[in-house]
Structure formats: structure tokens, C-alpha cells
């Protein structure tokens, strides 16, 4: 067994998930590849979205992958950090907006 839950080298083995379910694995990778193609959004914009989501999901593999992907596309570290702040703002905003639910409940329960 590995000594840690996350091993950076495991990212290289991602493709092996198809070995235990070829049909679903292939469908996933086909979908994944299609999603990141140039479309209404550029591949560069998609890379930055992926980087931000990688952080909100706190996936170390995705963070490694999309940091490298960003560098390959010429994305600067300032642009990457701004993208992460967008993710962080939504994440914290999503927490805070639930405060309204708390306020509603308090108002309903209190005399």
C-alpha cells in the first residue's frame, strides 16, 4: 500500500480506470476530451475554468494537471491566481448566502 492517500504518480494511471470498466471509462474520456475542445469558449478559457474548479473541488491531481496545462497555453501566474479567486469567491459566497436561510429560520422561529 502507498504511504499516503495521494501519490502524484497516480495521475499518470488515470487512463487505467478503463481496464475495470472499458465501456464507461471510454465514454467518460470521450466526453472529457470533447468538453475541452475549442467551442463557444476557447480551450484557454476552459483551462482556467478547470483550474478554478480544481481548487474548489480541492483535487490535487486536477490542480497539478491544470496548472501545467495553463503554463503550456502561456497563461500567466497572475491570470491563474485570479481564476482561483473567482472559485474561492463563489465557494465563500455559496457558504455565506446560506446565511439568508439561517436568518429566515431565526425570523420564523423567534417571536
Amino acid at each position: 500500500m502507498s504511504k499516503t492517500y495521494y501519490d502524484p504518480a497516480d495521475l499518470r494511471k488515470f487512463g487505467k480506470i478503463t481496464e475495470w470498466n472499458e465501456e464507461l471509462g471510454n465514454k467518460f474520456f470521450d466526453y472529457y476530451g470533447k468538453v475541452f475542445e475549442e467551442g463557444a469558449l476557447t480551450a484557454r478559457e476552459k483551462s482556467l475554468i478547470a483550474l478554478a474548479v480544481a481548487h474548489t473541488e480541492q483535487c490535487p491531481y486536477c490542480i497539478d494537471a491544470y496548472t501545467k496545462d495553463g503554463l503550456q497555453r502561456g497563461i500567466t501566474k497572475e491570470q491563474m491566481m485570479e481564476a482561483i479567486h473567482v472559485g474561492a469567491a463563489i465557494k465563500s459566497g455559496a457558504t455565506l448566502v446560506h446565511g439568508v436561510q439561517m436568518m429566515n429560520k431565526v425570523n420564523k422561529l423567534e417571536m
Binding site: 503554463l71 503550456q72 497555453r73 502561456g74
Partner: protein
């Protein structure tokens, strides 16, 4: 300024040591296929040359810069310079070669004291595409070089220049402090005489090398980004951008090992292997000539001192027909030329 690996007596200044590293570890234990075994899978072994199209001549390893990724290990402390005798031997070949492109490189080729004479003589041969690879900063290094743009124009030289990024920070980190500002000024000087300008036949291309342990992205997308940023920020124009992969040799290999990126980088290269790129890899249409006149399959083999596998080893004995009948020497670093869309001195190949 940093020194070359050679001046630092670095272990990797020994080319045999580099070849050992590239053959051991992940390639020896079978975790990754050697390049030879990889191209055997698609019946592309042994790699053989096609028609010779490009004659690339290295005028010396001396350079005014010491770039962190340099595969030549060039720098001010390198004294290897092509003599006029070897230049004359090259000129004799240039006059009779079937190649359509002449490509002068270095170091900084302009630092060879006989550079201008050689360009003047070579230009007379009327080769279709006459390239000089200029690091740009040499144009601003000393007053005696300030007129280089006009000199290039006079001889209709095609200028190909290195520019790793459109931002100061990334460029200076790879190529040295102050390089970005000098490069921008040099590009403006080239534009002023007509290089890279719309409607002009004076060609100015840029070379992009990733500034770290990652592969280049899509060449066209990078070119669009470079064009927009350089135009908006500095009113600079150029023709094409060549995205070139850093090969794991010399200083870049030293960096990969020191930063513990070597294995990941090799995995990335092998994972991105593209058999279609093998078809057009530059060693199949290029010959590389070193400062002392020896012949190599490519610039990288030259830097690893792997002389051409032919009876003809030196420019003085040049025989195009004999040279075409050879097997190209390959190694694990060749994965750098076959990753993704491929990589060559002229950018992508697939």
C-alpha cells in the same frame, strides 16, 4: 551572469554522462520504452533521411547570454568558434547543395568575427531561404552590432529570434535579467527596417520555448497571443511563431534533475508521442554542421557529440549522395521532437 556547465565543471558537461542518464532509470527498467523500441512499434526503425532540405551551420558556441534551458551550453565563456577555413569549406558546399534552406545558428552567430563576411559570401549562392538565428539582445549588446538589422536586410536574411514569453518576468527568468527589454528594443529596430511588417518580404519569426518543465501548447494559439500582446504593448509585428519543445539534454537536463522534474517530463514526452511527427522529424531533412566542421543528424546530436553514422564525417569531405545513405542516430531525447504536434527548428511538424 551564470557560467556554462563546462566552465562550472558540471557533471553534465560530459556528454557520456548525459547519455547514461537518458539510458538508465525509467528506460532501463522498462517503465518507459526507449525511443528505438517505440518507433519499432510503427515500423519506423531505423530512421532514415529523406531529401536534404536544410543545411544548419553552427558558427560557434560563444554567446552573450547564458539561458537556463540552452541545449548548446552556450555563453561568454565558450570559445569554440568556426574558423575562416571551415567557413570556406561550408561555402563550397552551400554553392552545390540541393538544400533550399541555409540556417546559421550558435551561440550567437553574430559574435563570430567573420560572421559578416560569411553571410555576404553565402548570400551570393542564392539559396531560397537564408536564416540567421539571432538571440535579439546581441543587436543591443554593443554599438558595433546596432546596424545588424540593416545588414540582415541588405542580404535578405530571414531572421528567426528567440522569445519565450510576451511578459518581462517569464522571459528574464529563462534568458537572464534585462533580456526582455533589450529584445523588445531589438524587435522594434527590426520592424523599423521592414522586418515582420505587413507587405514586406523581410521575414521575422519568433521561437517560443516553454520556460519550465512543461511542453509547448498549441502553436497557433500561442502565436495569436504573442501577436496581440506584442502589438498592443510595444507595437511590434512579426510573421510566425515556432513553438519548440525543450529537449532533455545539457542545461535543460540539469534543470530537470535539480528541480526533480526529470521523470515527470520524460513521462509527459512519451505520453505525447505522435508517430505522425516521426515522419517529418527534422533529422530526416536536415544536416547539422558544428563549428569545427563535423556533421551531425541534428543540433542535439551535435551537442552530445554523436557524429553522423556515415563514411563522410566532415564538411571537407561532403558528399550529399553518400550522406543520404545512413541510419539516423536516435536516443530518448528524440521524444522531444515527436511529442504532440512535433517539434523542430521550424516549429511543429505534424
Amino acid at each position: 551572469m551564470k557560467k556554462s556547465l563546462l566552465a562550472r565543471n558540471n557533471d553534465l558537461a560530459n556528454t557520456q554522462r548525459q547519455l547514461e542518464i537518458l539510458s538508465n532509470g525509467i528506460f532501463a527498467d522498462g517503465e518507459l520504452l526507449t525511443f528505438a523500441n517505440k518507433i519499432k512499434e510503427t515500423n519506423q526503425f531505423p530512421l532514415r533521411p529523406k531529401k536534404l532540405e536544410i543545411l544548419q551551420i553552427n558558427l560557434g558556441y560563444m554567446c552573450n547570454q547564458v539561458c537556463a534551458h540552452c541545449h548548446v551550453d552556450a555563453g561568454p565563456d565558450r570559445k569554440e568558434i568556426m574558423t575562416t577555413e571551415t567557413m570556406q569549406q561550408c561555402l563550397d558546399v552551400i554553392k552545390k547543395t540541393g538544400a533550399h534552406t541555409l540556417d546559421l545558428t550558435g551561440g550567437a552567430p553574430e559574435m563570430n568575427p567573420n560572421f559578416r563576411w560569411f553571410v555576404e559570401e553565402a548570400a551570393k549562392a542564392g539559396i531560397k531561404d537564408f536564416i540567421v538565428r539571432s538571440n535579439l539582445t546581441i543587436i543591443r549588446a554593443n554599438k558595433k552590432y546596432y546596424d545588424l538589422p540593416k545588414f540582415f536586410k541588405k542580404h535578405n536574411v530571414h531572421v528567426v529570434s528567440s522569445m519565450p514569453h510576451w511578459t518581462r518576468g517569464k522571459t528574464d527568468k529563462q534568458r537572464g535579467s534585462g533580456v526582455f527589454d533589450k529584445s523588445i528594443k531589438a524587435l522594434q529596430m527590426l520592424n523599423e527596417v521592414g522586418y515582420g511588417m505587413e507587405g514586406s518580404n523581410l521575414k521575422l519569426d519568433l521561437v517560443y520555448n516553454p520556460s519550465g518543465a512543461f511542453l509547448p501548447g498549441d502553436q497557433m494559439a500561442l502565436e495569436n497571443d504573442f501577436k496581440k500582446a506584442l502589438k498592443d504593448d510595444f507595437n511590434i509585428s512579426f510573421n510566425y511563431l515556432f513553438a519548440i519543445t525543450n529537449l532533455p539534454i545539457s542545461r535543460f537536463l540539469d534543470y530537470l534533475i535539480a528541480s526533480e522534474n526529470y521523470e515527470d517530463y520524460m513521462f509527459a514526452l512519451v505520453e505525447a508521442y505522435n508517430p505522425a511527427a516521426v515522419e517529418n522529424v527534422m533529422c530526416t531533412n536536415t544536416l547539422s554542421v558544428s563549428w569545427d566542421g563535423y556533421l551531425y543528424d541534428c543540433d542535439f546530436n551535435q551537442m552530445l557529440n554523436l557524429k553522423i553514422n556515415s563514411k563522410v564525417k566532415h564538411i571537407a569531405d561532403y558528399n550529399e549522395e553518400l550522406l543520404q545513405d545512413r541510419n539516423i542516430i536516435i536516443n530518448q531525447y528524440c521524444y522531444g521532437c515527436t511529442a504532440g504536434a512535433g517539434s523542430s527548428c521550424q516549429g511543429v511538424v505534424a
